[in-house]
């Protein structure tokens, strides 16, 4: 049996056509954000083996359909399959795993100009601007969107496929840049 609070949160998320923040959920169901967090965890667990999933991007939550049934939902909606070129996928991978990052960060890793791939990903709303880095030139920072999570069937960024090489094995871009800047 689920708690009344989990059910209350579920009913609000059911009618919401856009992601709802935890603070907003807490306000409308009359609970503390901490209680809502517990309820969300409970709710997410209860969707195991159903046609729904509880997805979140940061602290924003939304009910989505289970990836296993994407074909059926796509058939109903008449949705097209998204196609992304290998070059755009590389740029997207860097942004997804290292967000927020600048265009220069992406280019330093890929070793090629990434204007076009970033433009394409922006057009498809897979990435979005996330403010600017407080550095010379105040470059734009990029991060992934809800569309990204949905298109790749991810419940959250924690669901990103893990690479064989652990993240810690190589220096993060920021650290390396900082070292480079310092010695320059």
């Amino acid at each position: 049996m689920r708690s009344g609070l989990a059910n209350a949160v579920e009913s609000v998320l059911f009618v919401a056509e856009k992601p709802v923040s935890r603070a907003e959920l807490a306000r409308v169901v009359g609970a503390t954000p901490k209680q809502v967090e517990t309820a969300l965890t409970e709710l997410a667990a209860s969707y195991q083996g159903t046609g729904l999933r509880l997805a979140h991007d940061g602290d924003d939550w939304q009910l989505v359909t289970a990836p296993e049934h994407a074909a059926h939902v796509a058939a109903y909606l008449g949705a097209d399959r998204l196609r992304v070129s290998p070059a755009s996928l590389e740029t997207l991978a860097i942004i997804a795993y290292r967000q927020p990052v600048t265009r220069a960060d992406v280019e330093s890793i890929r070793g090629v100009n990434c204007d076009q791939t970033i433009y394409t990903l922006m057009q498809r709303r897979l990435i979005e601007e996330r403010g600017r880095r407080e550095a010379p030139g105040r470059p734009i920072l990029y991060g992934t969107t809800w569309e990204f999570l949905e298109c790749f069937g991810l419940s959250s960024l924690d669901d990103l496929p893990r690479a064989l090489t652990p993240e810690g094995a190589i220096p993060a871009i920021g650290e390396r840049d900082a070292v480079g800047d310092g010695s320059a």
């Binding site: 059911f14 009618v15 919401a16 056509e17 999933r53 997805a55 939304q62 009910l63 989505v64 359909t65 289970a66 990836p67 296993e68 994407a70 074909a71 939902v73 796509a74 909606l77 399959r81 998204l82 196609r83 992304v84 290998p86 070059a87 996928l89 590389e90 997207l92 991978a93 860097i94 997804a96 795993y97 280019e107 330093s108 890793i109 890929r110 070793g111 090629v112 100009n113 990434c114 204007d115 076009q116 791939t117 809800w146 999570l149 949905e150 298109c151 790749f152 069937g153 991810l154 419940s155 990103l160 496929p161 690479a163 064989l164 090489t165 094995a169 190589i170 220096p171 390396r176 480079g180």
Partner: protein, 238 residues
């Protein structure tokens, strides 16, 4: 080494110089962690020579890495060059190796993301706006109560069913009547004034009489909520 604008061009199936270098390492089944990158200079240059005419931006990126590889090879052949080389070239073999490793991870992740995309296993959210709801939530009991009132109204005698000449209702008379009632009872409800079987004319005359009394400050009118019974109170003499 990166051009400012222009579409990305895939060179011979390679997404940039690092991609080509990584491809060479994998083709030769070498370990990225231990391979001497300078030894790949010849193979790398051979690949570049084989390329057709390329946009300048792309060529420069490939050539920049080629020069780095040649430098690494030269260093390994002539160790005495190392001190000189390190002063003007920031990127050592280990730096390049780190970049290559980092890129290898990115390519692997891009592959994993591509697999997910091709599997078509994605999520969908509910589309469409929130429906326009009436301002108040529906109350079943209120609906039932309203229906009872309608039934009660329907069972009341109709105007035409009652023998009542128009002259019977006089606003002046009714005003005097109500004034007398209020003087006696201090407060009375509109429903009470209408009595049990009011006709429409009777209700209208009573209502106008009340308005007249209110205008003359004989009574106070009060209604707790919409459609609730109107409370008529005798106004206290100031």
């Amino acid at each position: 080494m990166l051009g400012p604008e222009g579409p990305h061009v895939t060179v011979e199936g390679f997404d940039g110089p690092l991609d080509l270098l990584l491809e060479l390492v994998e083709e030769k089944k070498l370990d990225i962690l231990t391979v001497r990158l300078g030894e790949l200079a010849d193979a790398y240059l051979a690949r570049i020579r084989a390329l057709d005419a390329l946009p300048a931006d792309e060529v420069s990126a490939f050539l920049a890495l080629a020069s780095r590889l040649v430098l690494l090879k030269a260093r390994s052949l002539l160790p005495s060059l190392i001190p000189l080389a390190e002063t003007d070239e920031g990127e050592s073999e280990e730096d390049l190796r780190a970049r290559l490793l980092e890129y290898a991870v990115v390519r692997e992740r891009a592959g994993a993301l591509g697999d997910r995309l091709r599997s078509g296993e994605r999520g969908f959210h509910r589309e469409g706006g929130t429906p326009e709801l009436p301002p108040r939530g529906g109350e079943v009991l209120a609906l039932a109560a309203a229906w009872s009132k309608v039934l009660a109204l329907a069972s009341r005698p109709r105007e035409e069913g009652v023998v009542a000449p128009g002259e019977r209702y006089s606003v002046e008379e009714r005003t005097a009547e109500i004034e007398a009632i209020v003087a006696e009872h201090a407060q009375v409800t509109f429903t009470e004034l209408l009595s049990t079987e009011p006709t429409l004319g009777w209700a209208v005359v009573t209502f106008i009489a009340l308005l007249d009394l209110y205008r003359r400050s004989v009574i106070d009118l009060e209604q707790s909520e919409l459609f609730a019974d109107i409370l008529i109170r005798r106004k206290q003499a100031a």
